[in-house]
């Protein structure tokens, strides 16, 4: 049965859970609300890209101007950070996609209908509300996916820039006991990035969602508006931080060991 979350929340109180809502199953794989949101967001982004690509011209239209500003700005900044246009072009897709994808996911998560439209299901004799769409970054699976993509890109950048053995030498170093210890610390910090990347994004967006949920429950009018604005800003900042950290870690990985 289709339902609206607020009415349900008014009846049974707020329930917050860390695990994603499972909407259905396909070939034994659970389909979560966050996954549906991710696919919707991908469709929107690819649709926009199609639109821009279809009408691309030397004298740009409004939509093209916006994307030229974003893409050109990021490309110029990357050229400065990586000190090479060639390198910037090489790693541009991963950085730009992280930024656009995370940004779009965070903003789509704030749209009306996301979290509030869903299905009523009966489990163990009680009715439960399952939203069809839910902010994607509140699902650790999604943020871990991003973190793995970013960390793999960082390691690849290091290996491509220095060669496998020289890059591995940053972490496994038998020249001196201190060098060995530093290498092990480097290795741990490299692995810790997976956790920091995924939990930073997850934590921020999850907290924002819970905050909005609580405020909407107690004061449904006016008060949530500035908070929603704040969440729009947080969504941008998180996308920016994720992308820029990936860029800086790529730059660090490409530098020769001392």
């Amino acid at each position: 049965m289709l339902g609206i979350a607020t009415a349900y929340a008014a009846e049974v109180g707020i329930s917050v859970k860390l695990a994603p809502y499972i909407v259905g199953e396909f070939l034994g794989v659970p389909i979560t609300a966050t996954m549906l949101t991710t696919w919707l967001t991908m469709a929107v982004l690819i649709g926009l890209a199609f639109l821009v690509n279809a009408k691309i011209a030397t004298v740009p239209g409004k939509l093209q101007s916006v994307f030229e500003l974003i893409i050109g700005g990021v490309y110029d900044y990357m050229s400065e950070v990586l000190e090479s246009k060639e390198m910037a072009r090489k790693y541009f897709p991963i950085i730009m996609t992280i930024f656009l994808f995370v940004l779009a996911l965070n903003w789509v998560g704030l749209l009306p209908g996301v979290t509030s439209i869903g299905l009523y299901e009966v489990h163990d004799g009680a009715e439960h509300f399952t939203p069809l769409l839910y902010p994607a970054a509140t699902d650790l699976n999604i943020t871990i996916g991003f973190a793995i993509a970013a960390v793999v890109a960082i390691q690849l950048a290091g290996v491509l820039a220095l060669g496998l053995f020289k890059y591995a030498g940053k972490f496994i170093n038998f020249h001196s006991p201190i060098g060995f210890a530093v290498g092990i610390i480097e290795l741990i910090s490299e692995l810790a990035r997976l956790i920091s990347f995924s939990f930073r994004l997850f934590g921020n967006i999850f907290a924002g969602k819970v905050l909005l949920l609580v405020v909407l429950f107690f004061v449904p009018y006016v008060v949530p508006v500035p908070l929603i604005f704040f969440e729009v800003f947080v969504g941008f900042i998180q996308a920016f931080v994720f992308a820029i950290l990936t860029l800086f870690f790529i730059k660090l990985a490409m530098e020769a060991p001392h």
Binding site: L18, I46, Y75, M96
Partner: protein, 149 residues
Amino acid sequence: MEDIIKAFGIDGRLILIQIVNFAILMVALVYFLYNPILNMLKAREEKIVQGIKDAEAAAAAKASADAEKKVILTDAHTEAAAVNARAKSAADATASDIVAKAQTDAAAVMADAALKAQQLKLQAERDSQAEIAKTAILAAEKILTQKNA
């Protein structure tokens, strides 16, 4: 650990799906958004650089054309002055020739006229002498006739 994984609902398959999602989106955006826009920006930058170069070349060409124009104009002025001077001197020469010829002609006409006048005068004198003689004879005859009568 298992509790944590369960609490967060972590599922390796979902993570894999998300990585695939990311890869698909990245490829699609590279193909439909990044490459077209970056190529367009590059093409525009090249066009602008070319445009500036062309404008500089045009300005240089204009400057050299201006300089050339100046040289040509100066040459033309000098030549025109020379031609003018030559024409003037030629005209002066011709004019003095004409005047001299005219003077000669006039002198010849004058001389001719004086000669003719002289001749006419002589002729008139001769004619009047004959007339006078004739009149004198006639008068003498008349006197003689009166006396004889």
